[in-house]
């Protein structure tokens, strides 16, 4: 997890004589959100991938597709559980870490979360029916019980991102003496940043889930298991990821121009631009120091061309921001580099998708080469890096604001008690959960590799007691 970036950001803010809680609170939020967001794609998109295999199994009476779908849903059960509980922690943290945000803006900011509550409920209910219903529900009704999971994944993503985008582009509230006195619910939810952020995250979920699941079977094939089962396990999710990534790249290009128009401060940090000017170069890499982006690879007029299709496009620089609320040099570096990494990893995945399309067209991917499999094997991790850096761009890029222009992060933070022990506990517990998940998924893999799909619950190793309940 790219924790170094938000860590550095937090340290810097703390060192500038901020409330003492700000550093651990930001660290903890970054850490727990960064952890949770890796699981989100599996809650949102994995069921869709599973349903493709399930459909094929039912439609073509395909036993291997059925086995894949059933096993995938067991993995999804584990990941969904961890995702559900780590998401709950984020709900608690809204109050434990950011009472200043909830107290002042809960009446508006909370609304998308209330809507999300319905989707999460539906998701939890139908995930259970889908995961546990394989053996006893009739096949087609069981198949369709997966559809509410897919749809509530979309609805849940849109709701949570509506809350986040509202922080970037707050609207729909009437303030009097700093207190919300009226709320236009529609404009809170469908704020100016809503559509592009929501679609971006939804596509990201499909990109991450697609490449990550495909990667598992690429590893299996590299180890010599090149049977039809593994090929299908590779092709189904890889196709989903390969369809999503070009859409994501086009989407990303549109979004960058939207951010240019509606969030100039964030855009200036992304470009590492100090002075408002035209003919702005696109600088790849580099470090922002003393108001200048150094050591980067500069493409003349690039940023101006990309943001307004003309080298005369004027881009506002960081110096237009009042010094009191201007992001520090180090924050600018983090945002700028994260953006570069996100775009770079996105293009790597696009390259893999094109490679896949080409080899499919040439040989129907009858015998994917070792280098192709190696690329697929790491593509899930690459997609996660893109996901994490994307969130760093939008979150760190908003600093020092929590609600853009309305609430500074230092005014949102918890002032009671000490956040450090909570943060320490979070690191220890999440590390334990990560290890536990690793062992649990490994146990599933080993059992399946041995061809055993039914489990023996809670019997001592030497004396398997038959399951009394099934």
């Amino acid at each position: 997890m790219p924790l170094a970036a938000p860590a550095a950001a937090g340290w810097l803010i703390a060192s500038a004589s901020e409330p003492s809680q700000l550093l651990p609170a930001r660290e903890q939020m970054a850490f727990t959100l960064g952890f949770h967001i890796i699981l989100v794609p599996f809650g949102v998109a994995f069921t869709f991938i599973t349903m493709i295999a399930n459909y094929r199994a039912l439609r073509h009476d395909d036993a291997e597709a059925l086995l894949l779908a059933q096993r995938w849903s067991k993995v999804a059960a584990v990941l969904f559980a961890v995702g559900a509980v780590s998401g709950t922690v984020l709900s608690f943290e809204m109050g434990l870490l950011w009472p200043g945000l909830m107290g002042r803006f809960g009446a508006a900011y909370g609304i998308p979360f209330a809507v999300e509550g319905i989707f999460f409920f539906l998701e939890a209910i139908f995930v259970a029916i889908y995961i546990y219903g394989w053996d006893r529900l009739p096949p087609w009704p069981h198949f369709w019980s997966g559809l509410p999971v897919v749809l509530s994944g979309v609805g849940g993503t849109f709701s949570v991102v509506a809350a986040n985008s509202w922080m970037n582009a707050p609207s729909g509230i009437t303030l009097r003496d700093g207190k919300i006195v009226d709320v236009d619910v529609w404009r809170v939810f469908f704020n100016d940043a809503f559509w592009y952020e929501a679609l971006h995250m939804l596509l990201a979920a499909y990109v991450v889930a697609g490449f990550a699941v495909a990667g598992v079977y690429a590893v299996g094939m590299l180890r010599g298991r090149r049977d039809r089962y593994h090929r299908m396990g590779l092709l189904v999710p890889l196709t989903v990821g390969a369809v999503a990534i070009p859409l994501q790249i086009v989407m990303g290009d549109v979004i960058a121009r939207e951010v240019f128009k509606s969030e100039p401060a964030k855009f200036a940090a992304i470009e590492g631009l100090s002075r408002t000017s035209t003919h702005v170069p696109e600088v790849l890499g580099g470090v922002f120091r003393d108001g200048e982006l150094r050591y980067g690879l500069s493409i003349p007029d690039g940023a101006s061309l990309l943001s307004g299709f003309s080298s005369d496009t004027r881009i506002r620089g960081l110096q237009d921001i009042p010094p009191a609320v201007r992001p520090t040099d180090r924050l600018v570096t983090i945002v700028h580099l994260s953006f570069d990494v996100m775009v770079g990893t996105g293009f790597l995945l696009l390259g893999l998708a094109l490679w896949f399309a080409w080899s499919w067209w040439r040989t129907r991917a009858a015998d994917p080469g070792r280098w192709f499999l190696r690329a697929v094997a790491v593509s899930g991790a690459v997609a996660v890096i893109a996901l994490e850096t994307g969130w760093i761009v939008t979150e760190v890029g908003r600093q020092p604001w929590t609600v853009s222009g309305l609430l500074l992060t230092r005014d949102a933070v918890q002032r009671s008690g000490n956040v450090w022990p909570l943060f320490g506990g979070a690191i220890a517990i999440y590390a334990g959960v990560t290890v536990g998940a690793w062992y649990a998924l490994r146990a599933l893999r080993r059992r399946w590799a041995a061809g055993a799909d039914s489990s023996t619950p809670y019997a001592p190793d030497d004396d398997p007691v038959p399951a009394s309940t099934r």
């Binding site: 939890a124 209910i125 259970a128 998940a437």
Partner: protein, 328 residues
Amino acid sequence: MNTTIAGVLLVAVVLYGVFGGADFGTGLWDLTAGGARRGARPRALIDHSLGPVWEANHTWLIFILVVLWTGFPAAFVAITTTLYVPLGIAAFGIVLRGSGFAFRKVSFRTAEQRVNGAVFATSSVLTPFCFGAVAGAIASGRVPSGGHGDPMASWLSPTGVLGGVLAVLTCGYLAAVFLAADADRLGDAELEQWTRRRALLSAVLTGAAALSGPFVLHADAPRLYDRLLHVGWPALVVSAVAGALALAATLRGARVVARALGVVAVAAVLVGWGVGQYPYLLGTHLRIADAAAPPATMTTLGVVTLAAAVLVGPSLVVLYRLAVRGRL
């Protein structure tokens, strides 16, 4: 509308207390089920009963949080800036409970199952204690309207500890009556006996703890005591009667009746708490109306609640029916 949303909040608390509570309570019996061999079958039963429903039941908590922070942001902040210690522990407990349960279900070796099971079971006891203590702190008026109350004395007060102990015991009791009904449905007489013994034990302990309640509240939270006595008493009477009848039903082996009465007994206490506190959200100092968000927000929450009733309600019924009929 403000009162309606507060009522929605209370209903959600009751549903979470009953269904989420029953899930947490299984942890108590899992923890005390004995070694790997002896505890294998009770644990398999717990696994079977909990597996399909715990995430849906857990969602009531999310619903409570989002309604509270959207509808009554001032109360939410007052609570989180005072009770951050038990809430923090509960948050971690939730992570460990859910993860431990999900991991144990798929882990293969006894050693791994043991670690995951212990994590699941311990956190299942710790979390309801914290929630009960939070409720006790709120009810006894130890959360100031402006927040930043005493971080330890607020929930480790007599009322807070009583709330925590009662929560753990009622969770255990609910779990035992639910598990007894499940064991009966599966036709496992031995397990049915096993769960029935635990239902009886926890019923007696819960009753004893509840009887100490009036003395504790009288000494520690006189205003709450007063309001419970004058306004909340019918609910408490219902709870006591239902609890006694449930005990009798358990003794006679009427599992389904015992389960229904047990649910009524627990729900009535929570309803009594809510009714006794009306028109206040926190203790007897922060009024519902004073903590409420602007009308447009409250109307939206009303619409969300209706949507939840239409969409989530029937879905939950389908899930429970499938689970009870052994289709999952």
